[in-house]
């Protein structure tokens, strides 16, 4: 049996972002996959060390354009943990509203992309047209369609006034109706079923072993969601269901994301009805105390982890971001490997890669180690890192 290795990327029509996959193929079947990351390294973490905490908020927002609210919520609450201060309850509710609007927009965007990848461009066009409803609502609340600039250290920057609630409620009911329609389409449409069922299988055992996150993990039937497991902001009060699906394939990921959109719409409606009144912001000093903290947020793509270390000045001493796509990459390599009864074809690659909702540019932070005392630097693979961690 002879096999070929085909490189895909870093520049390739099937990938929107610079990333390199090396796939070993036997005929049409993919038998092995490797990924090389680091083509979109932006140097954000280093840049953050040279800016003050308040200057860093717009920078954190630009780690990822699509899930920008998740990153700013994570950053601001991380800094608030350093101060050991809690923010007003109304601000926490507004954070949840903005975060869920962001999730709705992200999931609808992804649904359109999957429609495009399976060759069903009609779905793509209609979903993206309806996504404009939520984009307009985000613009109404925050002043910009994508970059919300809503969160700040100590609360949120803009209040949701009663005159903004009416269009918000109306928009939510339009979106609810449309999303239910798309759920029906996904369940009935043979194009989607033929291209998504049984493709990109990730068993629950593998999902846990490879530390998959977010909808990828939940589509493998594992009930894990940071909003439920470790509630932040107002998530301890706002009721919602953790959506899981046990088909473990791309079809399951479609259903999980559509149902999560419906849950998010319900959460926004609950927040609008039950939002307490009061201030939206507390003023904090420029210099947080010395310390370090970690915060976790459920971004649309999965668990987002930020770490900060403060040395008592107005600039962070170290900041680390783990974007959700990095957690999902080992899982996508597993999905791209034929094993036993499960075969994956070359034609399925785009839909499998798109199935984790990849956002390579927010993830690219190379694991490069530098030892200044020995003037040595080296790059470690995941395995070497795991071996090293086991030895310690």
């Amino acid at each position: 049996m002879s096999t070929f290795s085909i490189p895909i990327g870093p520049q390739h029509p099937a990938l929107k972002e610079p990333e390199s996959f090396t796939l070993t193929v036997d005929g049409e079947d993919v038998v092995g996959a490797k990924v090389r990351i680091g083509y979109a390294h932006k140097g954000i973490e280093k840049l953050m060390e040279s800016k003050t905490y308040i200057q860093n908020i717009p920078l954190v927002e630009r780690i990822c354009g699509i899930c920008n609210v998740a990153h700013t919520v994570c950053y601001t609450q991380n800094v608030e943990y350093l101060y050991e201060k809690s923010i007003p309850r109304r601000a926490e509710y507004i954070r949840v509203i903005i975060e869920e609007l962001n999730r709705i927009h992200s999931h609808l965007l992804w649904l359109g992309i999957v429609g495009h990848e399976v060759g069903f461009d009609t779905l793509f066009m209609y979903v993206w047209r309806d996504r404009e409803v939520v984009m307009d609502l985000i613009e109404l609340l925050t002043g910009n369609r994508v970059s919300t600039a809503m969160n700040t250290v100590g609360g949120v920057r803009r209040d949701i006034t009663p005159d903004k609630m009416t269009p918000l409620r109306k928009g939510m009911s339009i979106l609810e109706e449309r999303t239910k329609y798309y759920r029906k389409i996904a369940l009935d449409e043979p194009t989607v079923l033929a291209r998504a069922k049984g493709v990109g299988v990730l068993t629950p055992i593998e999902a846990i072993k490879l530390s998959a996150v977010g909808p990828t993990l939940r589509a493998s039937g594992i009930k894990a969601d940071v909003r439920m497991d470790d509630p932040y902001a107002a998530h301890d009060e706002v009721p919602f269901n953790v959506i899981t699906y046990d088909s473990c394939d791309v079809f399951g990921r479609i259903i999980v994301r559509i149902d999560e959109t419906l849950e998010s719409i319900g959460m926004v409606q609950y927040c609008l009805d039950n939002m307490p009144s009061g201030p939206i912001r507390v003023r904090l000093t420029n210099t947080p105390p010395v310390g370090e903290s970690v915060s976790r947020v459920e971004a649309p793509r999965g668990e987002d982890i930020h770490y900060v270390r403060s040395n008592g000045t107005e600039r962070p001493a170290r900041y680390k971001v783990r974007a959700p796509t990095l957690g999902n990459l080992p899982a996508v390599l597993e999905m791209l490997t034929s094993k036993g009864d499960y075969t994956i074809r070359i034609a399925d690659i785009p839909v499998v890669v798109a199935g984790i909702d990849p956002c390579m540019c927010c993830m690219d932070r190379s694991i490069r180690f530098i030892d200044p005392s020995k003037e040595k630097e080296w790059v470690w693979s995941w395995n070497q890192l795991k071996k090293y961690a086991a030895r310690r």
């Binding site: 308040i54 860093n56 927002e61 047209r129 910009n144 970059s147 600039a149 449409e189």
Partner: protein, 112 residues
């Protein structure tokens, strides 16, 4: 096939696309607190430099004139985060709803 009825229904609907740059400019509705191009009221400024301290993208540079310290804005670097507008104690900075500004050289995007 499940979508075929929806597709037929849309044959008789108006188009969703706004023919923006050339026609239908009036169809673009901007919310009142849209974050657009900065406006700066030099006579209100007291020279406290707070805007300079919060700007994330080095848009603002402090210069000195006969009244003391005053900011100038390199708008080509602005990210429209509106942190300067928010922190200004005398409302000398305002975000307008003007979103169409480009210049052929950097002098045109300099705001004093």
């Amino acid at each position: 096939m499940a979508m075929i009825r929806e597709v037929y229904r849309h044959l008789f609907k108006k188009r969703a696309t706004v023919l923006y740059p050339f026609k239908e400019r009036e169809k673009i509705h901007l919310p009142t607190d849209f974050r657009g191009k900065l406006a700066f009221y030099r006579e209100r400024c007291i020279g406290c430099s707070l805007c300079f301290r919060v700007c994330p993208s080095e848009t603002i540079e402090m210069t000195t004139d006969e009244n003391g310290k005053r900011p100038i804005f390199y708008l080509d670097r602005c990210t429209f985060c509106a942190q300067c507008e928010e922190i200004c104690p005398v409302d000398a900075i305002e975000m307008t709803t003007d979103f169409e500004f480009v210049g052929f050289n950097r002098k045109e995007t300099l705001l004093k």
